[in-house]
Structure formats: C-alpha cells, structure tokens
Amino acid sequence: SQTIHQWPATLVQPVGSPLSLECTVEGTSNPNLYWYRQAAGRGLQLLFYSVGIGQISSEVPQNLSASRPQDRQFILSSKKLLLSDSGFYLCAWDPRQGWDTQYFGPGTRLTVL
C-alpha cells in the first residue's frame, strides 16, 4: 500500500533562517506531488505541484521554492523565512491516472518567530 511521510512534524525557526521540509511517498511510482499551506480559517492553498522529476509549477508568488530531486521526493525550501511563512504545510500525491483523489501527508507545523 502507498504511504506518504513528512518531516519534521513541527518546526520553530527564527526569521531569516533557511527552511527545508521533506516529503516522500512509498508504494507508487511517477506520482503527481503537491505542497499546500493551511492557514487558520482559510482552508488549504496550493503552493507548488510537480508532474515529474525536476518539473515544478508554482501557484503563488512567495518566499518559498520547491524541488523534486527524485521521483517520490518533494522538498519545500526557503533561503530566508518570514513571519508570514508560519503555517501548516501539507504534502499530497495522486497516482496520475485520470482525475483521482489526492492523498495527504501528516503535515508540518512551522512557526517562525
């Protein structure tokens, strides 16, 4: 069966520090991968998606970037965090077989102080 992992689960970082959040998927190949941010009372906002290694689409101009160095690995990064980057970050995948369900990871709670 397929599983999706995210780490770390929680992270507290100072403003101006770098960020790296990792997401890996097991039990499938060639998935679509997604990064979302969930802000309180605002639902989930799609940040990036990837249809293959090295292929990243950005949905929202911001302080963050994403990379996909391997088929089942998706990384969210920042060179210098802002206070507004605080939030709950979710990674998701789908099997890219027609329009199917996206499956979500456990998320990372990021607090920027």
Binding site: G43, L44, L46, F104, P106
Partner: protein, 113 residues
C-alpha cells in the same frame, strides 16, 4: 478565478442531530468535487467524491453529498451525527483538465455528546 465557498465556519450539534454543510463553487465547466475531513490529530482524508454519474454520492461513515449543477453546489449531509464526527470538513474542486484542487475555507463541526 475558480473559488469554493463554505458558508458555515463553525457548526455545533448534539448527537443524533442531522447535518448539512454547504459548499458552492464558481466554475462553469466540468468539475470534480470532493469532501475531505480532518479529525483531531489525524491526516486530511477523503470522505467522498463526485466525478460523474449519479449526483447523489455516498461516502464513508454514513455521509453523503448531492451535486446540483444548476446551483453550483455540493452539500454534505448526514442524517444523524455522532460525537466521533467532530472534525474539520473541507470541500474541494478540480475543474476542467486541471490537477489543482481548490479548497474551501473549511467548516469546524463540534458534536456534543
């Protein structure tokens, strides 16, 4: 731009009460519709989905939703809620040939025993 509206941000019910959560979307073409649920401390998970066919969709745990194309709506219903239904519920839409899931802002449901 496509959007999804969930008008009830917080709902409080007693056990055995009936539930209906509203969801409206703005897109005139073909849509795929989803309800996701996030129980306290758990992953976001799929409750039910509509791609085509019977507009009345049945999901897990006794939930159902009805797609009404003329009203651009996909309301979630359950005839008798339980304390274990306490969670946050998200409506989401993909449109046309897009991979992008557009989420509503979510509804927090509290069921009192």
């Amino acid at each position: 731009a496509q959007s999804v509206s969930q008008h009830n941000h917080h709902v409080i019910l007693s056990e055995a009460a009936s539930l209906e959560l509203g969801c409206n979307y703005s897109y005139g073409g073909t849509v795929n519709l989803f309800w996701y649920v996030q129980y306290p401390g758990q992953h976001l998970q799929l409750l039910l989905k509509y791609f085509s066919g019977d507009p009345l969709v049945k999901g897990i745990k006794g939930f159902e939703a009805e797609f009404i194309k003329s009203k651009f709506s996909f309301n979630l219903r359950k005839p008798s809620v339980q304390w274990s239904d306490t969670a946050e519920y998200f409506c989401a839409v993909t449109s046309g040939s897009s991979y992008k899931l557009i989420f509503g802002s979510g509804t927090r449901l509290l069921v009192r025993p």
